[in-house]
Subunit: 353 residues, 4 copies
């Protein structure tokens, strides 16, 4: 239950509430990352090096955070990133997350590693995208895509940063390998109801993206683009968007912070595709900075899990409402009324001593 | 009362004395800022990255700190920034502050959110400017300007960085919303004696500045200019000065430190207007650096409140005297005899390790 | 013995295990460096400033870490740096290290200051190079080279950064001067069986390198090249490789970190020789970054000693296996399948705040 | 007495020994600086940002640290900076310091604020320079110069960074104003034996330098040059050397670190005068870096006082011997045999994270 008497003014408060409620092993699963977790920290730290240079006297009384993304309206440029195993955080799991997302009018990207089925998650309405680890079994991959289509998902978010599994030392120290009894990856049941393991397919390549492109009419986004050459290849392969992501620092440590990678990706894409970014977004100004540097929208992962652990659907909704109010205030104070007003001259990079 | 037996060699000493005397909730109201208070810290930190490169052998025995600002003589290029609620710091409130300012020969910018009326504050003599949050009720705004004129204020300082109210988490945690019984914003009484709330008018725009320009012959300064494009617009709209300010980090966190914003503003203004700056000024070399980088004068906010809390008018005077002596010494040791001697070659930026 | 029940997920774990087992004086001998040990720290720290920008969708299922170095195949581009006195870490000393190296298929550079003889070390098979401090007694130097040749060493690694002995304050504080009874530098016995001290020959110059070049047909690498002008001289003097090294920070403190020196050396060499680097390699991404910046291979010193102290040959093998697995994973996650795929565009330098 | 059983491997050890022996008020007088002591720290910190890039194979067996400075031979490019009140550190005061300097073959710059007379100090032999605060009483200034000449001083070091006295908060907190009974500035006795206070003459200008130039044939160095324009003026006014100094951070806080100021001074002087530097020299590599960046020699101040407090003349000698040995080792390990071999390519600036 969400303890409404707790002070929860910002996402750090919500994180603290989540930590109090979660099994420490599960907290570490959500919080941790690969190696020494330098990239986990760098994602947040990158935002502290960019400073907002606000405009003034721009009549910002009428603000509108809405954007349209790949044909779907969104109430704000903050989406829910795909993250695994929501039932570790709350008994309702992804169904609670989806209810909050729908209530908040934003898009939830459903993880292939969800502990509720895509059909259960989408049943409550709202806009959903489906995150896919393409499996080497093309038939099973195809059936997953069909299942996501049938459940009403409106886009595929194809994870391309995981040819092998990242090595997360917290989990190794805890011996955290399997989900607790009763929890499974519900989307991994095949036609016969047998559960499959999620495969990280090291053979994944651009031909598989072309194959996916031919398989479905859903928009396809590539999740995990960090090198500008790959952003250009993404355009050439006809995908519909790129998501600048380092998997929350969970795959390879010492990988560049997403905000640091963003400008080169934006330049390489040259406006031909929407560029999304996740990693380290904790405040309204973080969203503002990412958008000013060219992102179309951002996604939040861990904060959603904090909200879910701290208060179920209400907790997730609180996280989304905090970010919305914070972004709204940041827009006004930077002299903007809508995401499209933001431009790179609103951001300065100044070394801290 | 001001405990004269306390050692108070620098502003940090005065702050410590203030903290001992103030209700912690009020200390936090004065000390705190928006969000994580990164900008609060950045304002001070920016001065630690600029190093003074002094000149020698320049016969600095006769020094003169006086400047003239918008027609008023000032004894030194250090003014008192507008800050709210001085009666939280001392029973005499802004009247004590004004007495110290007059005694020190500097300008006090009277806050619209003063807890003493502008008439009481100006009654003791000295030079005063009036800080204005333009209200959407033009009639009331007009009456405020007339009242400031009548009370003898010599300029309007129009705050333009506050279309909405900043979110200060310390105050939210304390539940600090209302002034204690007996304290009100005395300037917010309308003709009928009714108290109004101060409105942050999100609709404020350049046309309102033009309207104000037509309303009064007082010089108008814009407070909260950080973007060079806005500095150019300020020149075009016929204002008389700009104040580089981020509201002490109290409006939007992660906004650029004022010293980091100053050079681009100075360049944009190109000498057509005086450029003032506030935020993080704690030492004579801070004043020197700001002036060397092109500021005409600086304003101090929190230090004045520290002095007021620690010792009333005598405490404020002590703060001003410390800054004056420190600036005087810094000028001499940098080879200058007056503010106008300072130039950008006296300042080097060196990264700290 | 290697305590298999200890968790040892990374080299820091192995270091902790070593520290528990080692005499603190010997731990300090291995861990310490010259002066304030700034270079010791800088070697590791340099890797935290380079961020990996991975490529995606490159079908990385078939990876191959093997390289060929001066005619010898190596199973991965991670070699064992020469370090002194392995019997301080484990009774078997360098023989255990060599067994691990052979098992892992990598090259061990045998230290001239080994506490087992070169013949004992090479007896177990594998590929070995011999590290040489050229002695002013050319006859003895010559006999050392012949002995290394006869023992099957396949290259000479000539240390050129030690005209005098570095001053290591930890050792001075401990009074650590002599090896414990029973341990000697076994390679320093002359023809009559008399033990000689290792001389740091301050007169060493390029003519001696030419003399060595004429003395043996073994490939010669220079260990301790940091200045690009010296890298060019190395090419001109017909050596077969350069090793960018600052002796693990043990010779002169405040010397540049090896990773910071590497790019200029790579540029100066211009592909004419293999460029190796040691210093601060602790993770697979460290290897990846060094190779992306132009190194042909890296060497690890202290981690090998940690493994040796913590578990003898099995401990060294564990260290090598950790690095191999970590590099293999890093290659895959950066979109590469072999060392030769790595290029400088995979690395970005971003200041940390 | 110098406790020979104390470990004193480096200057930090000597400082610790001094601190144990000194009255805390006197320790603070020697250790402290102006304001927040940022420049005190910056002087040392600047050396941690410059990294040595050594040369190799240069036959460095025959090293020679000697230089010639303004006609006087010196055994190494490390001189003793003028510092006040040596009898606070040791009963023998400056006489002990001079004995150590003579023994070590280096130049002692005698402070005008010495607690032993210039005649006593020079009586023991060695090379001495005399530091002068020019007094507005030209007759007295003239008599001081004559007295220094008569005592055998070979140069005047004219302090030009002190038009007013720096504000040192440690001393103000301690109420440290006067020397203890029995200690006086012995050089401040006038012809009648009356003691005068040392005046900081704010009127000092280049004409006074010209007057001094006409007064004596001794070489004149200006101490406290930080701005390149002043270095050019120094050349034009016919002085014989400049000393890049910020008075050990004791005059104006936030002044640039001397090492950061050095390169622009060297460039401005263009080889026409020797350029000396003081501030933050604690290791042989500090000397090496300063020389590589163009300094002819360095001076050490606080370390000499530490040695004096810790062990009298023997302590000072130990400090000088440590620096000599450290510099000698650093030269060898950087591939140089004499100060003149050092060039700017041996130094790289790398940001630390």
């Amino acid at each position: 239950m969400f303890a409404l008497d707790e002070v929860r003014l910002n996402l750090a408060d919500v994180a603290a509430g989540a930590r109090r409620r979660l099994d420490p092993v599960h907290w570490d699963f959500f919080a941790g990352g690969a190696g020494e977790e330098r990239t986990v920290r760098a994602n947040e730290e990158a935002f502290t090096r960019r400073w907002v240079v606000p405009r003034i006297l721009r009549a910002v009384g009428e603000r509108d955070l809405r954007i349209s993304l790949l044909g779907s309206p969104v109430s704000m440029p903050v989406l829910i990133a795909p993250t695994a195993f929501h039932r570790l955080a709350h008994p309702e799991g992804e169904v609670a997350t989806a209810r909050a997302a729908a209530g908040a009018g934003t898009i939830m990207v459903i993880s292939m590693a969800a502990t509720r089925s895509v059909e259960e998650i989408t049943a409550g309405g709202g806009v959903h995208w489906f995150q896919l680890y393409p499996q080497s079994d093309l038939g099973f991959t195809s059936s997953l895509v069909r299942r996501a289509e049938a459940a009403g998902c409106r886009a595929l978010v194809v994870t391309v940063d995981s040819p092998v599994f990242g090595r997360r030392e917290r989990d190794l120290r805890h011996g955290f390998v399997d989900l607790p009894p009763g929890l499974v990856c519900e989307n991994m049941r095949d036609a016969s109801g047998q559960l499959r393991d999620i495969e990280m397919d090291a053979g994944l390549d651009w031909r598989r993206i072309s194959w996916l492109r031919g398989l479905t009419t859903l928009p396809i986004l590539l999740k995990g683009v960090l090198h500008p050459a790959d952003a250009r290849l993404a355009v050439e392969h006809g995908v519909d968007g790129v998501l600048v992501s380092n998997h929350g620092g969970r795959q390879l440590d010492q990988v560049i912070a997403t905000l640091d990678a963003l400008p080169a990706i934006v330049e390489a894409v040259g406006g031909r595709l929407p560029v999304l970014v996740d990693g380290g977004i904790r405040r309204g100004t973080d969203v503002l900075v990412a958008l000013a540097l060219g992102a179309t929208a951002v996604l939040v992962g861990r904060p959603v899990l904090w909200g879910l652990a701290a208060g179920g659907a209400a907790g997730v909704r609180h996280v989304l409402d905090l970010l919305r109010a914070d972004l709204d205030r940041a827009l006004a104070l930077a002299g903007a009324t809508r995401p499209g007003d933001l431009s790179a001259d609103l951001v300065a990079t100044v070394a801290r001593a």
